[in-house]
Each structure stands twice: as structure tokens, then as C-alpha cells.
Subunit: 205 residues, 2 copies
């Protein structure tokens, strides 16, 4: 791509560093900014820089927060003895949206993935093990995505905490509400039969 | 979407102002920035602000440029009597990539589109008419996209310049190189038959 302006080329090249944004999309976005008032680009840039510079991670659960201890961890009405282990802040937001969970979270910041060079020490696993050692925890719920990396990470953490007397569970895998049985993959369908639940308990939700 | 941080929410909301970027994509992009070094976000923001603040539009053709007269208009080897009328800078880049055109451009900055509130006076049409009036132009090539808005814009400009003694042409519409005939829409196929070209001339390219 030949640009008629160095400034334009720079902006496009920086935008296209973002995941899923190629050169063409970046150019489209940058040209859109040129059609909007200058203030809009300034506001966007300031929002990004301020976010990147000032954002904090909760000292307890590692969730993104503006303060040292996030709202969830600071809430006295939530049960801190149940910890839901998730990959990143989007999972916290997704589970919070359901309003079915009233415990604490622990955000790992990723999954063990040797192919991407992410080992256990790049994740917030130690602080989770420390929490378990402290004796305040009664249950750990694994809520990582059901992939090779997710399963590896679950198993690694399980090995670290299995000697402490706590319950470990993993979120249920099964057929999504509203899905047709015939289109479900066989692994999911098979597991949903093996892990069937008493009919009465399904009526409660 | 409930955010655990105001800074994060701000950044996501600003990013999602961009066309084609929804809240979820914006969140994904912003979380990616958080995993990268701070400098990267700073560089991106600076590139955007500098581009938006300092970019110029060529005083002759309205193409994006870092100087008052763009490289194409300033190039003495290009024929300034032939002007190719395009919608925006992406079209200039696309035509330049073919290296088939050695004239000048005129960037309108959009198409006449009443539904989006864009009238003739929002586009750089007057300066094109002035160029034609000055008598230096021998041919105008319309290279707008083949839509209702593109056709309207072509026709509006044609009406303004038809009394001056210049050639007007429009880029050829037809079947793309490599396309199968049977999958081509009937309007394109019909036009490609009506506007057939002598076989010998197709051999020259």
C-alpha cells in the first residue's frame, strides 16, 4: 500500500497492530476520524492513554479496577470462601451478568499455553494457591474455556491445591438453552448424558 | 455491559464510536492494549492525534498529503489535462496501484447522498468546475462507485461542465478478470455486451 502522507501511514500502521485489524480496516477507521471533528480523535487518544497508564488490578483477585481492591472483593455481602477461577475480566463480566454467582473471583490473566510461550509463572496462580493455603477458601470453581489450554490450566491448579481440604468443581458442560439436540457435537452431547441432573433440580431455575 | 473500572469503560466507549467496532470488539482491543507495553498505546495515541491535527489536503486535488501540493499534482511528468474524479483517498491509492493512469486526480470527499445529508456543496465539486473553466483540462474521467449516489454525483458534475469543450468518460463496467460469466449479475453482463471493445485493443494490455 502506497500512502500519500507519512502521517496517514503512521496512523494506519499503528492501528493495524491491534488484533483483527488489517491495513485496510485501519485505513477505513483513520479516514473516518478525518471526517469527524478533531476533538473526537483527541478524546479517544486520551481515553486510551489514561486507561493504559492509570488502570489498576485488584490486589486480591487481579480483576481490572480503578482502586486497589475491586468492588466485588470489597463487597461484604459476597461469600469470599467460594472462588471462581476465570481467564480474564470478560469472563467476570459474563458471569456477573447472570447474577447467579455471589462469591469472589480470581482472574488468572490467561491460560497455560506453551505454544504462545505462556507458562504457569506468567499467570496469577501463586496468589490463588496462597489464598487456599490461608484456609479461608472452601470451594474453587474452575470456569476456564473448555479447550486443551483451559483443561491444562485447570489440572495444573488442581495439582497445586489438591492436598488442602477444599471442594473443587468445574462449571457444567452441556447443551446450551435453546439449542437443537441434533446439531450438538457428540462430545458435548455425551457429557450432558453422563452428567445428567435430577429433573427436580432443573425446575428450580 | 457492566464494567469494573470507569477508565476501562471510557476507553471502550470511545473505541466503539469507530465504524464497525461494537462494544465487544472494543473491549477485546482495549484488553489487548493492557497486555502490551504502555509505550505501544502511547505511540498509537500520538500517531492518531498527530495525523488528525497536522494532516493536510492537497490544495489542487484535495488528496491527503503532508504538504500543500501533493506528490501527484507536483509531479511534472504527469498529464494535468486529464483529471480522474474519485470519491476518496482510497480510490486514488487503488488506481495508483494499477500504474495505468498518469494524469491528475480530483478527490470529491464523498458522494451526493441526500439520505446521509450530503449535498453537492459538502463535496469538492466547485474547485473541479473552476479547473475546467480555467481551460487547462481536456478530459474528465468519472471513477465513482457504480451506485445510485455515484451515478447522481457523476450526473450533477456532468451538468456543471457540459458546456465547456472537454471530453467526459467513465471507467468501464464489465466482468472482472477471472470471474465466471454464469455468476455475473445481468446488469453488468448486459452492459459488458453493449459496451464491447474491439478484440485487438484487448490484446494490448
Amino acid at each position: 500500500m502506497e500512502f500519500s502522507s507519512k502521517l496517514l501511514e503512521n496512523a494506519v500502521s499503528e492501528m493495524s497492530q491491534l488484533p483483527g485489524i488489517g491495513k485496510r480496516t485501519a485505513l477505513r477507521l483513520v479516514l473516518h476520524m478525518l471526517r469527524q471533528p478533531k476533538e473526537q480523535t483527541n478524546t479517544l487518544s486520551q481515553a486510551l492513554v489514561q486507561m493504559r497508564t492509570n488502570i489498576k488490578f485488584c490486589k486480591s483477585c487481579n480483576n481490572i479496577s480503578d482502586v486497589d481492591i475491586c468492588e466485588i472483593c470489597a463487597n461484604p455481602n459476597r461469600d469470599k470462601s467460594i472462588i471462581c477461577v476465570v481467564e480474564d475480566v470478560r469472563d467476570v463480566m459474563a458471569i456477573e451478568n447472570t447474577s447467579f454467582f455471589k462469591g469472589h473471583y480470581h482472574v488468572l490473566g490467561g491460560k497455560i499455553s506453551p505454544i504462545d510461550g505462556i507458562g504457569p509463572h506468567d499467570l496469577n496462580i501463586n496468589s490463588l494457591v496462597e489464598k487456599v493455603k490461608s484456609g479461608d477458601v472452601s470451594e474453587i470453581i474452575f470456569a476456564l474455556s473448555s479447550t486443551m489450554e483451559g483443561d491444562t490450566t485447570n489440572f495444573y491448579i488442581f495439582k497445586q491445591i489438591q492436598d488442602y481440604n477444599i471442594t473443587t468443581s468445574t462449571i457444567a458442560r452441556g447443551i446450551s438453552i435453546g439449542d437443537e439436540l441434533e446439531y450438538t457435537d457428540e462430545v458435548t452431547l455425551g457429557r450432558s448424558i453422563v452428567n445428567r441432573v435430577p429433573f427436580e433440580s432443573s425446575l428450580k431455575l
